[in-house]
Subunit: 333 residues, 2 copies
């Protein structure tokens, strides 16, 4: 059970830590451990067919800023040098071209290697191509962590609600925007709330992808393709971000018992991200950095799930659940 970790930022470090924490679990479930045989960040790589020590990887990254001790030019040439069963892909997302993440995923599938990824860009641009390739090569690809972080919405829709007709999903898929809007509920102006989100580490220095709704848009695309069997890409989403929400709008909402939330909505016909008025107390009025989704179903009615939408170990939880799904199938439980 050999994995290669591409991308060694917060998520890559989180999954490495989680693999360490789950040593006993893997041993008990499979009689053997998960072995990291390669790790790569944007600057460096390290490989060892006999397995790398996770703790050393984390220590070196912390000390030197690099996970490896060697430089590289082409990721695929590094992956060529070692044999592995699962690629864990979490390089920085690129919603314009799919970036290196798309290259890495394509490389793995072409070599018959299963993939777990949280990389939204490739999935939001080339979902059908990736799934078709995986099917052709007999590979499994897990991407639970790409939508809603630790909130297991994809498994929930595809497996737990198997047989249900899912009519629509409406949800909050970006914790940064929700943090800002929650602060605005209490009277803070947009700029101040954004600055605070940045200080707290919830928003990037360049917050465009979050506040313009692009990140949420990637997530509704992934849901549209996986849950609704549609064939859409990022460019098909009707997107409005939260940059034009001002204190007056929030105050007017409040006076009517409402809050403003950035809602992603997907159904067989809808594909939209926009700020909406939500009644206080409604499941979608949730404050803070949580993610939440309301799944409307034919038989069960509405099912609501919420969880932390981001975070080092939170995202690792989703990756681990995909990894276990693959290992169960490949190495039998």
């Amino acid at each position: 059970m050999r994995v290669f970790i591409c991308g060694f930022g917060t998520i890559g470090q989180g999954i490495t830590e989680a693999i360490m924490m789950k040593e006993e679990f893997f041993l008990k479930r499979y009689g053997k451990n998960v072995s990291i045989v390669g790790a790569m960040d944007s600057k460096s790589y390290v490989i060892d067919q006999n397995g790398l020590d996770p703790k050393s990887l984390l220590d070196r990254k912390k000390k030197t800023g690099k996970v490896g001790d060697k430089d590289y030019e082409v990721p695929s040439k590094v992956m060529d040098m070692v044999e592995f069963d699962v690629l864990i892909e979490n390089t920085p997302t690129d919603v314009k071209t799919g970036g290196v993440g798309l290259e890495n995923i394509t490389y793995a599938l072409n070599h018959g290697i299963d993939v777990v990824t949280v990389n939204k860009g490739p999935l939001a641009l080339k979902y059908k191509e990736i799934m078709d390739l995986a099917k052709e090569k007999g590979c499994i690809i897990g991407y639970e962590g790409s939508v809603g972080g630790a909130m297991p919405i994809i498994d929930l829709c595809l497996y737990d609600l198997a047989g249900e007709k899912i009519k629509s999903i409406r949800g909050i898929f970006n914790g940064t925007c929700n943090y800002i809007l929650s602060k605005m509920d209490n009277g803070q102006p947009f700029e101040q709330a954004l600055r605070e989100a940045q200080q707290q580490g919830y928003a990037e220095t360049d917050p465009t992808s979050d506040i313009e709704g692009y990140d949420s848009a990637c997530k509704v695309v992934i849901l549209a393709n996986s849950v609704f069997g549609r064939n859409v890409t990022f460019n098909d989403v009707d997107i409005t971000g939260i940059t034009s929400i001002n204190a007056d709008a929030v105050a007017l909402a409040r006076a009517n018992g409402m809050v403003i939330r950035l809602i992603g909505e997907v159904s067989p016909t809808k594909l939209e991200v926009s700020p909406r008025l939500i009644p206080k107390g409604h499941p979608l009025s949730i404050p803070g950095t949580l993610n939440v989704a309301e799944i409307s179903t034919e038989l069960a009615g509405p099912i609501v799930i919420s969880g932390r939408g981001a975070g080092r170990l939170e995202t690792a939880s989703a990756i681990i659940s995909d990894l276990v799904g693959i290992l169960d199938k490949r190495f039998g439980e």
Copy 2:
């Protein structure tokens, strides 16, 4: 894909209706349909190895109060007369002995027949024995609908969160009590709220099982055994119902920004059902007949799921998801 339906009350009728609604889905997924070859209620039975017409079953039950046109004495002798792949068991629950439900489930497993059940009694009394027998006979047993109705908490914990260490589950597992307590939030006395629940069809004529916490207790037992791998029964639960909650207690809670909710809690060491003070706005302060569960995990933090805890088609949704799980394994996807 032949099923036998034992118990033809609300749930039995709901699943029959759902099987009709899902005809197209089954055909598309498996290339064949689900055929009901037998149905039984407490008074009558009907069988046909070539398949029964679901609509006729529902019509006869409605008109005559009986699903079949023949009487029987011993259920197993009826099931002996027809061949089937899955038993759908939803006879009235009996938490003292396991009742006819336990007999039917045992019969099916002993004959190598897979089982889907929402019957809490057998699972709350003989969980380990039932699972051991299923394992010995190579059978699958699904019981998602036995906890939380349409809220897919068991699949969520066992599959979506595979690899997670689940630290505890706290939840509202009885919609009747929650309806009564929500009415009391608004100042209604207990007796009036109970009467209203009965008028609305949420509470039985004899509400003991709900208001004394016995129904919730069955559910925490099932979670303890399935999610936490414990080996406990109904008699191990520390149970306090809601009959001693009065208007003063509710008013005092309200004055402190709290509500009273009947909470089931299960962890590796806890097994309890009791009324608790919950802050307003907390996920477990949910009003009405919904069920909700807060799952505390090691990596992902808290994950909250809610859905309708009961209802004809809502429970059928859980049964269908278990049925699909079995059919996927047996008849390939």
